[in-house]
């Protein structure tokens, strides 16, 4: 892949480049399954693919939120503790009772939206850099989650997710786990929103040039705030799904998702400066990432080796996707 570094900076058409990146992400996933099948026969079988997809669905949900904010050149570092807080809020608010499930889910999603609103307000209105604002909010959510739950020692903290929520995640429908149906629905919905609505068009416009968008009458602040709210809600949704999947909440369950969501977004071909890429690529990126992790686990790669390889893979993809826009 290293030839790409030295390649002449040919001016490419933006849409072609986007398509190329999505294709890359899909190919990467396919290649990983192929390689996995070689080193670990059966890896590319239906059951194994389904298992990888199930894992990818959680990352994919979080990455959907990350995708929205990265499209306007932002980033959401508050994901870990929004997700963790959401998981704990769901079980403590529902007390594991079906009767309270609807209320608890609504409350949890509302919490995610509220955190996202605060993030978006700080970034869009108070002009705090996204890195700083969301980093600080991650701390705020960590402190609140730990403090209010007494470090997950509260009476209600040991509750399980309500049976309906668990069924909605673990149940099957037409031979596929329900969590995958949820993800498929999200893939379609996010792709539709980004590709076919005014909101999506404005999102790309802001990501490409916020000033020009404002001068074309786009309400940049409102859209930015909405995008961060979406990110908060997707983190909360992932928290709900995870706690529904595993039954109980735990501390630190959100931590891996920050790195993984950024990785999925990058592998999926989004430009970290905003304005380029789509969620199909990010979904494929989530699959690739989880396939990679599964392959490495299947061959008993030790933790340090996995950590090194994640980094190397991301660097190679970055180099393959080409130089950043500042170059021209």
């Amino acid at each position: 892949m290293s030839e790409a570094i030295g390649a002449a900076p040919v001016r490419r058409f933006a849409l072609d480049a986007d398509g190329r990146r999505v294709a890359f992400a899909v190919l990467a996933a396919a290649a990983l399954f192929a390689v996995g099948d070689l080193v670990h026969p059966g890896f590319a079988g239906a059951a194994s693919i389904e298992a990888v997809a199930l894992n990818a669905s959680f990352v994919g949900l979080v990455a959907a939120g990350q995708c929205f904010v990265v499209l306007v050149g932002g980033i959401d570092l508050s994901i870990p503790w929004v997700l963790n807080g959401a998981a704990i809020l769901l079980v403590t608010a529902s007390l594991g009772q079906n009767a309270r499930a609807g209320f608890a889910v609504a409350l949890t999603l509302g919490m995610g939206a509220l955190v996202g609103f605060v993030n978006g307000f700080g970034i869009a209105v108070l002009a705090v850099p996204a890195v700083v604002m969301t980093l600080a909010m991650n701390g705020v959510m960590e402190g609140l989650t730990l403090g209010l739950s007494g470090g997950l020692t509260c009476g209600a903290c040991a509750s399980y997710a309500p049976p309906v929520v668990r069924a909605a995640v673990n149940g099957g429908f037409l031979g596929l786990p329900a969590a995958l149906w949820v993800w498929l629905f999200i893939i379609v919905a996010v792709t539709f929103v980004l590709g076919f609505t005014g909101f999506g068009r404005k999102t790309y416009a802001i990501g490409n040039n916020a000033l020009a968008s404002r001068l074309a009458g786009v309400n940049v602040r409102a859209i930015t705030i909405l995008l961060y709210m979406l990110s908060g809600m997707f983190s909360a949704l992932a928290g709900i799904m995870l706690v529904g999947f595993g039954g109980q909440a735990s501390l630190g369950m959100g931590t891996p998702f920050l790195f993984q969501s950024v990785a999925a977004v990058v592998i999926g071909g989004l430009d970290i400066l905003g304005g380029r890429g789509n969620y199909v690529g990010v979904a494929a990126g989530s699959m690739s990432l989880m396939a990679l992790i599964s392959v490495l686990l299947a061959v008993d790669m030790p933790e340090y080796g996995r950590s090194i390889l994640y980094g190397v893979v991301i660097l190679l993809l970055l180099l393959a996707y080409g130089r950043n826009r500042a170059a021209d």
Partner: protein, 506 residues
């Protein structure tokens, strides 16, 4: 100081058959240009003729795709401006290259700071050295301790020029050095230029003001469409303009319809905002009202404020008879105002996005039903505008960044025509646009006015203002200093008022 005098046959710097394309469009194509030691050489041509690109190539900022650069009798290749500096070639680029968060002194002496025995910069001596250096060039009004971001645009231009001159270059390129300078600042610059010439150095400059060119240049090179048309010791203005545009002066501009007597569409009284004060004027339906003035003298801020993109802190604004307090662009748009900003690449277009996306952006909310874009309507709307304005693009899906400058500008105009505004604020709409498109844009503006719209037109090209506008208001230091009324003014009058010349040629 290397005061070696060149043989008149050997050029101080020369470009032979130089070419450079951006995204398939030739900015400079097979251009040749030679500068002799001890001369002042003017490089003239329309916006987009390739002057700036040629200067960037000779200054080492960009590499040519083809051709040869010679210094003395050597062929050279500049990878960076550093290499050009080593050959005694310094350039003041059109986009200023100062560091906003650093002091004037740090900027001025960058790389040449007074140093102590340890090799570290002596801060105590820095400001004094800068002050002395500035004084040596006759500049006493700029505080070397101020940060560059605290200085005015004109001061920055002076600092930038001073920095280049202080390095005692053999060849000094100045790309539009006077665009923000008032009369006495221009005089200051020309005194410096004469001094450099007296020392056997070469100065190349570009300017849109013919009077400046005529008063100081020893030779004049004219460029058109990326290549040189010829080099002349002296040339008549009308002949020069003909060579620059490829046609007679008048032919570029369609005849101006008589000033309308209709009702007022926009009335401004004592408007005040960041960068301008006490601005009052009336714009009639069908009128093209020009705004003249130097860069940085308030017109930009005025237009942004009228459009709600910058705050209006005082005064009253009425549009179509109704009071308007635009707090954001949407407010102004709702009142029927459209703004075509100065820099279409950074303020107007979304370059990586498609022609269609760019055309419909301002109307996207109207094209949505329940939040979903009505794609069919959107496509037909975009197609209609591409046809109306004869935008040359392979498809609606083409990224705007891949179109030529003229077609990019048409896309931006098309976006706002779709919004069917009552008042158009146009800023330098023909910058970087080819001659044919220019002519089309002029006709379009006149057609829009004839259709009953009001047009406010800012242009850095005084000739354009004098041919296109019914009246021209000239701004200086944030105020309207002169109104040039219908029919009786020339481009020279506009420039004279803008630079603050005391006696106005009648």
């Amino acid at each position: 100081m290397d005061g070696e005098t060149e043989q008149s046959g050997v050029a101080a710097i020369e470009g032979r058959g130089v070419s450079r394309a951006f995204g398939g469009v030739h900015a400079v194509e097979n251009a040749s240009f030679a500068v002799r030691a001890g001369e002042v050489h003017a490089l003239v041509g329309e916006n987009g003729a390739g002057k700036s690109t040629l200067i960037r190539i000779l200054g080492g900022l960009i590499r040519p795709d083809g051709g040869e650069i010679r210094v003395g009798d050597e062929t050279v290749s500049f990878a960076t401006p550093r290499d050009a500096h080593a050959r005694g070639i310094r350039t003041v680029f059109q986009e200023l290259t100062l560091f906003p968060a650093m002091s004037v002194a740090e900027n001025l002496l960058l790389g040449h700071e007074p140093r102590g025995p340890s090799g570290l910069i002596r801060r105590s001596a820095l400001d004094g050295a800068a002050e002395a250096a500035l004084a040596g060039l006759g500049i006493t009004h700029i505080d070397p301790r101020a940060l560059v971001e605290e200085t005015s645009l004109a001061e920055r231009q002076v600092i930038e020029i001073a920095r280049a001159v202080l390095r005692a270059p053999r060849v000094l390129f100045l790309d539009e050095p006077t665009s923000a300078l008032v009369e006495h600042e221009v005089e200051w610059l020309f005194a410096i230029v004469r001094r450099l010439r007296g020392e056997g150095r070469a100065v190349v400059f570009t300017s849109h003001r013919w009077r400046e060119v005529a008063s100081i240049a020893d030779r004049i090179t004219i460029m058109r469409n990326g290549t040189e048309v010829g080099t002349f010791p002296t040339i008549e203005e009308s002949e020069a303009v003909r060579l620059m545009t490829g046609r007679r002066v008048g032919a570029l501009y369609p005849p101006l319809a008589p000033a309308p007597t209709g009702d007022t569409v926009l009335a401004a009284e004592h408007l005040e905002g960041p960068g301008f004060r006490d601005v009052s004027f009336r714009l009639g339906r069908g009128e093209i009202l020009g705004f003249g003035g130097l860069t940085g003298h308030g017109h930009r801020e005025l237009f942004l404020s009228l459009f709600g993109a910058a705050p209006l802190s005082g005064g009253a604004l009425r549009v179509g008879g109704k009071p308007l307090h635009p707090r954001r662009p949407r407010d102004a748009m709702a009142a029927g105002i459209a703004l075509i900003p100065e820099d279409r690449k950074t303020e107007g277009l979304l370059l990586p996005m498609s022609v269609r996306d760019n055309l419909t952006l301002a109307l996207i909310d109207l094209l949505c039903r329940a939040g979903v874009i009505a794609r069919g309507r959107e496509r037909s709307m975009a197609q209609r505008m591409v046809a109306t304005l004869q935008i040359k693009t392979p498809s609606l899906a083409q990224a705007v960044g891949n179109l030529s400058g003229g077609n990019q500008q048409k896309v931006l105009l098309g976006r706002w025509l779709l919004a069917e505004p009552q008042v158009l604020l146009l800023s330098d709409v023909t910058r970087g646009v080819d001659v044919a498109t220019k002519s089309e844009i002029y006709e379009l503006i006149m057609r829009l006015a004839a259709g009953g719209r009001g047009v406010l037109l800012y242009s850095s090209d005084a000739l354009e203002l004098s041919h296109l506008c019914h009246r021209v208001l000239v701004m200086r230091e944030g105020r309207i200093v002169r109104e040039l009324a219908a029919g009786g003014f020339t481009a020279e009058d506009v420039v004279a008022a803008a630079v603050g010349e005391t006696q106005l040629a009648a």
